[in-house]
């Protein structure tokens, strides 16, 4: 994430070789991302009759349906806000963790902390989500504990709402916010905080005026990753929030798998992609602008 690096230009022969090295990945992406994408885009422009049969001809009727109906538009913007909120929470919670990683007393401790941080990623999302159900359910661990302590009489309803979804999102996606932030923090030279202190600033002032601004790239990178992951995830909200949550990935899943209205599902997908793309682009633009101003 450090800016100000000048990219070395390869000689022409080296560039050819670079393309050769890239080609397997490139072919894979063309076959399994670009081509399906184009097919899906085509599908989203089709119309269906009342029996959901494809009609000949192309048009924007599906998109008009998506943005015209309060249900779909609402789901789209709820998804947007929930994802942004998740990204914000993740960055906030990632800060202490990243700080701990960077300031680990020894290399061994740091390695252990990194392993701890990354280890949840070795389990599948479904399993981690089920773990939250075990914790939050009416007869789950938390309710049991509270009841045994005599703090509550009736079990709390902690599942099947948006808060539970956000909690689960944050837990699942936190490592993706910590890693870029730790990189960003680690790149700040020690002399900067020393300079700040020699000028009379205490640790808190130094943090808010030197450290925090300089980790903006790490925070933005983390936020972009978490936002994109949250906006596209459907297993976690489906299992924890239930199928009634107004989140677009759930709606897409229902349209595609349960109702089999493929053109509408495709149009919903592209609408989500568009909105996500705009947000990621904006966050990226802020990042670029900041790096250009700071490092040239």
């Amino acid at each position: 994430m450090s800016g100000g690096t000048t990219r070395a230009r390869l000689p022409a022969s080296g560039r050819g070789f670079a393309w050769l090295l890239l080609s397997p990945t490139l072919l894979f992406l063309i076959a399994f991302l670009v081509v399906p994408g184009i097919l899906l885009a085509g599908l989203s422009l089709r119309n269906v009759d009342s029996m959901l049969n494809l009609q000949p001809g192309y048009g924007l009727s599906q998109y008009i349906l998506v943005f015209g109906s309060t249900t779909y538009a609402n789901a789209l913007f709820t998804t947007l806000w929930v994802s942004l909120g998740t990204a914000l929470l993740c960055v906030l919670l990632a800060y202490p963790a990243a700080w701990l990683l960077v300031n680990a007393p020894t290399r061994t401790v740091r390695t252990v902390l990194y392993v701890l941080l990354v280890s949840p990623l070795l389990t599948s999302v479904v399993i981690r989500t089920f773990a939250w159900i075990v914790l939050l359910a009416q007869n789950g661990l938390i309710n049991d504990a509270l009841r045994n302590l005599g703090l509550i009489d009736a079990p709390l309803r902690m599942l099947w709402n948006m808060n539970a979804v956000i909690i689960a999102y944050v837990q699942v996606m936190l490592p993706f916010a910590v890693l870029p932030l730790a990189t960003s923090l680690g790149e700040i030279p020690q002399s900067l905080s020393r300079a700040s202190m020699s000028l009379g600033a205490g640790r808190v002032h130094t943090f808010f005026h030197v450290t925090l601004p300089l980790t903006l790239p790490g925070m933005l990178t983390g936020a972009i990753i978490v936002f994109a992951l949250a906006a596209g995830s459907y297993i976690t909200p489906l299992l924890i929030g239930g199928r009634l949550q107004p989140l677009l990935p759930i709606t897409i899943y229902q349209q595609a798998v349960q109702i089999a209205n493929l053109p509408l599902a495709a149009a919903l997908s592209f609408s989500l992609l568009l909105i996500t793309g705009i947000v990621v682009f904006l966050l990226g633009a802020v990042l670029k602008r900041w790096e250009k101003r700071t490092y040239g």
């Binding site: 100000g4 030279p189 002399s191 900067l192 020393r194 300079a195 700040s196 202190m197 020699s198 000028l199 009379g200 600033a201 205490g202 002032h205 005026h209 030197v210 601004p213 300089l214 903006l216 900041w290 101003r293 700071t294 490092y295 040239g296």
Partner: protein, 390 residues
């Protein structure tokens, strides 16, 4: 302190001296500073000079407050600052890599310390303009650090440190990242700036030339101890021990033992060769019986071309006179104004001499016989007690 130099008024703080009292710094088993006592006078330009790993940066970090010494105290003026965190010490510091805040423009960097002190905005603006003038960067206020050259960044770093009107200015190898020519310019500028505002300045450097040309006094640090403190002239002409003699400038170090003639010593070790060895005439009125070590600076040796020595005949005594010898040229390096010559002495051993270009119409060639002479006052004895290695 009533007659401050002009410009110090603009700075607004009276310069304070620094006293370092029995400072010891241990890092685990490693003893980085083995008891340092040092008085840096108010308003003086003091350099801490030494090879890397000698503890000079450690000492600077202790003065600045970034390190807590294992033992001892640090005073700024009459204030014991040993227990104070760096942000309560009122010490301006310039770092080796300048440590400018990359996300702030020049004005933001310079104003940083003033904003921390909650100085009113109008006053900050005035002060920023003032110190930018002082370092000759007016009109650069809105540039970002990455848009500045190394020398300009250096000036901003100095302006930033001076803006808070510190009692003391610490410079941590501030010029080592600049190229040779710019470094020379910045050196003289730094010196004149320091003299104008009269601030107590401590420079850490490994560059002896820099220390010699900038400082009022220099402290030579070696193996965690202060080896000698003195003016550049004292250090060069009267080194306190072998370490200082070898570290400051180039030195021919010659170990010699007293002869029956008062003040004349005969070189031993590698200079000794079947009674033909080097004789040193000194100003010492010697009664000592122990061998001493002498310093002979290369530029003090006069080099003239000489006829080859006559073949030595068996049984004939060799006539030797003190402070005069001969040899053949082994190596010559020409660097424009000065010439460095390595001469293999006929009597054994080697001397390094430095001559000026103007001295020769034609440069001597390798293998050519040369006569070497020097004056009696050029042979500088090292104190005998320093024979024990530090």
């Amino acid at each position: 302190m009533s007659s401050q130099p002009k410009g110090a008024a603009a700075l607004g703080a009276a310069p304070a001296g620094i006293r370092i009292d029995g400072v010891v710094q241990r890092f685990g088993d490693h003893l980085a500073l083995a008891g340092v006592d040092l008085d840096i006078r108010a308003g003086e330009f003091f350099s801490l000079l030494g090879p890397s790993g000698c503890g000079k940066t450690t000492l600077l970090n202790i003065i600045a407050g970034f390190l807590d010494p294992s033992e001892g105290s640090v005073y700024v003026g009459d204030r014991d600052v040993t227990a104070l965190p760096p942000y309560r010490r009122d010490i301006g510091m310039v770092f080796q890599n300048y440590a400018l805040f990359p996300h702030l423009d020049v004005a933001g960097n310079v104003a940083y310390g003033l904003k921390v002190r909650k100085t009113p905005a109008a006053q900050i603006k005035k002060r920023v303009a003032e110190v930018l003038d002082l370092v000759q960067l007016p009109g650069y206020a809105s540039r970002m650090p990455h848009q500045l050259s190394g020398g300009q960044q250096q000036r901003v770093a100095i302006a930033r440190a001076l803006a808070i009107s510190p009692q003391v200015l610490l410079l941590d190898e501030p010029l080592s990242n600049l190229d040779a020519k710019l470094r020379k310019d910045m050196q003289s500028e730094l010196r004149s700036l320091q003299q104008r505002i009269g601030i107590t300045t401590v420079l850490v450097t490994h560059d002896q030339e820099e220390a010699l040309s900038l400082s009022d006094r220099i402290g030579i640090l070696g193996s965690g101890r202060l080896q000698q403190v003195g003016t550049p002239l004292e250090l060069y002409r009267k080194p306190a021990n072998r370490f200082v003699a070898e570290f400051i400038g180039q030195a021919n170090l010659i170990k010699a033992q007293p002869t029956s003639v008062a003040g004349v010593f005969e070189a031993v070790d590698r200079f000794e060769n079947e009674g033909q060895g080097l004789l040193l005439g000194t100003e010492l009125d010697i009664t000592a019986t122990q061998p001493l070590r002498f310093v002979l600076r290369p530029e003090r040796i006069r080099v003239v071309p000489a006829p080859p020595p006559e073949p030595r005949m068996a049984g004939r005594p060799v006539i030797r006179s003190p402070n005069r010898t001969g040899g053949t040229l082994r190596e010559l390096s020409y660097s424009g104004g000065s010439i460095r010559l390595v001469v293999d002495l006929f009597g054994g051993g080697q001397l390094i001499a430095q001559a000026e270009d103007a001295q020769f119409t034609e440069l001597p060639v390798v293998g050519q016989p040369l006569a070497l002479t020097w004056r009696i006052e050029d042979v500088v004895p090292l104190p005998a007690e320093e024979e024990v290695p530090a």
